[in-house]
Amino acid sequence: MLSVAVEHRLGDFRLDAAFDSTGGLTALFGRSGAGKTSLVNAIAGLIRPDRGRITLEDTTLTDTERGVFVPARRRHIGYVFQEGRLFPHLTVRQNLLYGRWFARERRDAARPGEVEHVVDLLGIGDLLARRPANLSGGEKQRVAIGRALLAHPRLLVMDEPLASLDEARKAEILPYVERLRDDTRIPIVYVSHQVAEVARLATTLVVLSEGRVAAAGPTAAIMGRIDLFPLTGRAEAGAILSTRVAEHDVRFGLTTLRAAAGDLRVPYIDLRLGAPMRVRIRARDVMIAVEPPHGLSALNVLPGTVAEIGHADGPIVEIRLDCAGEALVARLTRRSVESLGLEPGRQVYAVIKSIAFDHHSIAGAAPAAPGADAETRHG
């Protein structure tokens, strides 16, 4: 378990944040300038906070009261930087082995075949002899992840590792990060300001705003909170449903995903039946009906009750539905809310078009082949 509570002043900016992480992938989410990077730098030992305490498992890394400050190189925290920071004068192989060299004295170091395993996990076998200058942005980040992994980290810190990449490269890396989260037992702290990334990757979400923690908790619970929409970004805001692949419809090229709230039909996803999928349903893609709709082209209708109506922002209102215990959010006009007579407790039907689902909103286990993602495969 990682436990962080720090105060730090940088010029006019004041960081005063605390959170705990119990493994999996913890995302630090917030706008630029919210203090995300300062916070992970404090965890990694790259900055010494003015006050505070950071512990990882049973080790105290920083404790200003007791004068404890473990230097970065003794923390065994793998750091994947936004710009990769590969060593330009070394080959990919030498970059990968750099940290391993210093980890060799530790007991748990040098498991046989681990280099091959990491190289395989990240799909960088063909790059080993190359120099960083000859790699694409996505390849660089994969090598940077491999380099951090091979140093045998107790915790992996990733500071907006996809920020400098275009959409295609992001889609290339995301499955590897998912694999990392699911296949290795290394806890990850992941910094991002992209809702889509966080929704897809995070097990725990810590929302930072102006140097403070605005909210923290399981990703689905936080993403479903409409009071946080101003912070999580209204346009992209949406709830997250945990589903499993239930059925493939070859004739129409559709896949049925089963959630507690009901079935969702989405464009075909090449995953075996039973595979877990995480689906983000953007509030702007959800329509509300007060009666079971008929004669409608949309394939997905989930029954639920209105749980909460948010504060109006001009003509727009967000409402939260309770669909068999799962949260779903919808973005409506104030006019619709009034004319439908929506109020907490009212039985309604959420309508979602199948084509609202794309690779930004669907994420599951790693795809069958590395480098491919859900969107490019349904054709």
């Binding site: 790259l46 190189r73 004068h89 210093f102």
Partner: protein, 230 residues
């Protein structure tokens, strides 16, 4: 008429001696040069400007003055020269060691300058990245910082090959002991019919300088690999 590349034994000796002197000049001044460059590039302290000026002094002083000062300090009767001769048996006056000392002193500002430039060019963020991978400060220096300054060392070596004024003032121009390529060229130009030999040594001088420049690039990569033990 002798062919252009028929070197006389004296000329060969001058070439060998030049390389030898420049090599030791570079090697001996390297630790001091790195330390001075590190302090000047990254340190913040009172008197930094004065240290900076002192380091650059040999660059702006007439080489003859530097050579004469070396003679006063390190000559047989100089305070340092006598001390080193009596305590350690190290004699500089009219020896190749003296030529190396003169080259080292004269090349020092350039060495510090180029190392400092490379240190400024070394990405501090890469050093931080190496730290998170478990590397200690000396290791970071050897594997990340140093490869960037190796080019500076080679340039300092090439510069030492060309030292003339301080060398001839301090240790004179003794064939086989202190006569390097520049002093040999100078002497040949004083003799009637020495033009061809002077041209020969000039070409050699150009070739060595070029080779040093070309060698800088792959050496950087190799040094880094070796430091890692890969």
């Amino acid at each position: 008429m002798t062919p252009l590349f028929a070197f006389t034994p004296d000329e060969l000796t001058a070439i060998r001696l030049s390389l030898w002197v420049a090599f030791w000049a570079m090697l001996a001044s390297l630790p001091v040069g790195i330390a001075a460059a590190l302090v000047l590039a990254r340190g913040r302290f009172w008197g930094k400007a004065l240290l900076d000026a002192t380091v650059h002094l040999p660059l702006v002083m007439p080489p003859v003055v530097t050579g004469y000062l070396l003679l006063l300090l390190f000559g047989r009767n100089g305070p340092l020269g006598r001390f080193l001769a009596e305590s350690f048996g190290i004699v500089f006056a009219f020896r190749w060691t003296g030529a190396a000392l003169a080259c080292a002193v004269m090349g020092f500002p350039l060495m510090v300058r180029s190392i400092r430039l490379s240190l400024d060019a070394v990405d501090r963020r890469l050093e931080a990245a190496a730290g998170t991978l478990g590397a200690s400060a000396p290791w970071i220096f050897a594997t990340i910082t140093l490869p960037g300054i190796l080019a500076g060392m080679i340039l300092a070596f090439a510069r030492a090959l060309g030292e003339f004024g301080a060398t001839i003032t301090f240790v004179s121009n003794i064939p086989g002991e202190t006569q390097t390529i520049p002093t040999a060229i100078y002497m040949l130009l004083q003799e009637p019919g020495g033009d061809l030999a002077a041209l020969r040594l000039t070409l050699v001088s150009i070739a060595i300088s070029l080779a040093a420049l070309i060698a800088a690039e792959p050496l950087m990569a190799r040094a880094a690999r070796r430091a890692l033990g890969l």
